[in-house]
Subunit: 120 residues, 2 copies
Amino acid sequence: MVQSIGTRLDASFAALSDPTRRGVLEQLGRADASITVLAEKFRMTLTGMKKHVGVLEQAGLVTTEKVGRVRTCRLGLRRLEDEVTWIERYRQLWDARFDELDGVVEELKRKERVDGRKKK
Amino acid sequence: MVQSIGTRLDASFAALSDPTRRGVLEQLGRADASITVLAEKFRMTLTGMKKHVGVLEQAGLVTTEKVGRVRTCRLGLRRLEDEVTWIERYRQLWDARFDELDGVVEELKRKERVDGRKKK
């Protein structure tokens, strides 16, 4: 299934908005793990962990493989490139915006000084 | 209200998981705007836009100020520092993990070549 960047960002940011799911990603960044092991580590029911892994899988951040009765989870191929690109672009806007506001404040201060001098 | 980094990440990643909310942030990165203007730009009801702005405000990404009947929205002071820090750390884990897997694959290929030669 090919997803648009927007849809991918929706899914990945939603996936990252939960502490357990961020924890699972960090854990899988160290070693692959079965759903059972993850459920134990995060003190959660199997059903609960399956749901979290499902959300991560949907976002392309985790892949799973079932061999016999064990489903092993590992990191997916997505390295959060689009997410970083979006945030970086936003930060550029943010910086420009706050520089602009700084400029307005400076201009107001300058005018105040000039007005102050005129009143004297 | 002081929030822990984890709670902040939950709120901000959830805020970023919606295309309208990302659009509002980009828009406010260009200029402040009233809820009414934002609702028009994103072809949405006032109530719908108020909800989105509320989520962004809760996450500290937007601040609003009501003067008379107009509520003006502007970017909040949060520059997504913690979010970038989390993602960067994750990418380091990701890189290390895939380097490790590359190593395993290389090792398997090497063994295959050695075994292949032995069989000849």
